[in-house]
Symmetry: C2
Subunit: 228 residues, 2 copies
């Protein structure tokens, strides 16, 4: 059985990516990062998702990106609300966390080397946020090259690390339909950037808006409750 | 004044690298990583070094690599003692932390993007530990390529990120002599992998042995006390 590290935030994309890794017969090692995000509630969701898929192991690694700030997700910058589709899909939003995916993939690489996995599954997607530099295929390929030069197993030729991004060119509706086909229970997932204290989704941030639109386009009822 | 992020552990290499960055006229942003290392004492030293060089800012970012383990520095694997020069300089030791430098550089990249710095100074060195994959020039170049593809500023052409490794081909003695020339106070630094409770260097781990040898070869008295 191929071991795979799956970056799991507990959102729709990473949960569907986990379902795909499972459908490909991988033994799942779920990696959740607590990076001081506003929506720390998603970590609890990631635990449930991990259990749902019977992951061999899940770990939560904390890295305090609040020290660095620079994003609405890790500082007091306000999370934008009720933006139009046009606004959401152009440019890099203030919710972009500088080099976040590089940090996440680096931690995944570290764990992959320790547990002898050669594959990292990562739910990056270029469709909804076309402006995110660290979701693009050319970035992912550059990370792989670096990974194979900067690890013991890569250099010794024992492993060729690969980062699989099965969702990279899919729309949110296509992702949801793929997940439904694979038996994902989306009531376990969480998308909101700015949830209330009880973890209720705000319904107005970019992430909620993209999620709602995705479920509508997929013709599926979103099992998550929204404040608005 | 060029802003530069300097990865600062408080050891000889990163402290000398900081002195070099300063001598090149950079405004210093010192980044210290608390990664659950055995020698957490070095974080206190990094604070002193940062002050000594009048860094514009120092931050300590914690990332809990103990969750991942796989190294004598982050787990209960024993730190080797009294190895010969021959043993130290061949192969990858158990103190290697998988993908650690990639994680460190990724965090440095994140901060660099937030504060608008285009240079990261990093005290990597290939001479003492020839086996470390993530200290080699080809790895550093691959990291830069990835950094420029995976950041807003890199993609928008606003910044070309570079990782400077001025010590990469120097021996420990050459590094110490360079530091002395630049006014480094090495009594502020810390090298031991396995210090006692009061932070006294063990004198037996690879890092202590390399340090002692470096000072002897440089003809300088090591200002640090050793238990043995």
């Amino acid at each position: 059985m191929n071991r795979a590290v799956v970056l799991l935030s507990g959102g729709i994309d990473s949960t569907t990516t986990m379902a795909i890794a499972k459908s490909e017969g991988c033994e799942l090692y779920a990696l959740t990062i607590d990076y001081g995000q506003r929506h720390v509630h998603e970590i609890e969701k990631a635990r449930l998702v991990s259990k749902f898929f019977n992951a061999k192991k899940q770990i939560v690694v904390s890295v305090n990106l609040r020290e660095i700030g620079g994003s609405a997700l890790t500082s007091s910058i306000e999370v934008p609300a009720n933006r139009t589709q046009e606004e959401i899909s152009h440019g890099i939003p203030v919710t972009y966390v500088p080099a976040r995916n590089t940090i996440f993939l680096a931690i995944a690489l570290s764990w992959a080397e320790v547990i002898d996995a050669d594959t990292i599954f990562f739910g990056a997607n270029v469709v909804d946020y076309s402006g995110y530099p660290d979701c693009r295929p050319e970035y992912i390929r550059a990370f792989e090259s670096m990974a194979n030069l900067g690890t013991r197993k890569g250099v010794e030729g024992l492993t060729e690390f690969s980062v699989k991004t099965p969702l990279i060119n899919m729309t949110k509706a296509e992702i949801i339909l793929k997940g439904i086909e694979l038996g994902v229970d989306y009531s376990l997932t969480h998308s909101c950037y700015d949830p209330g204290e009880a973890g209720i989704a705000c319904g107005r941030c970019d992430s909620c808006l993209i999620r709602k639109k995705g479920f509508i386009e997929a013709g599926i009822t979103d099992p998550v409750r929204y404040a608005l």
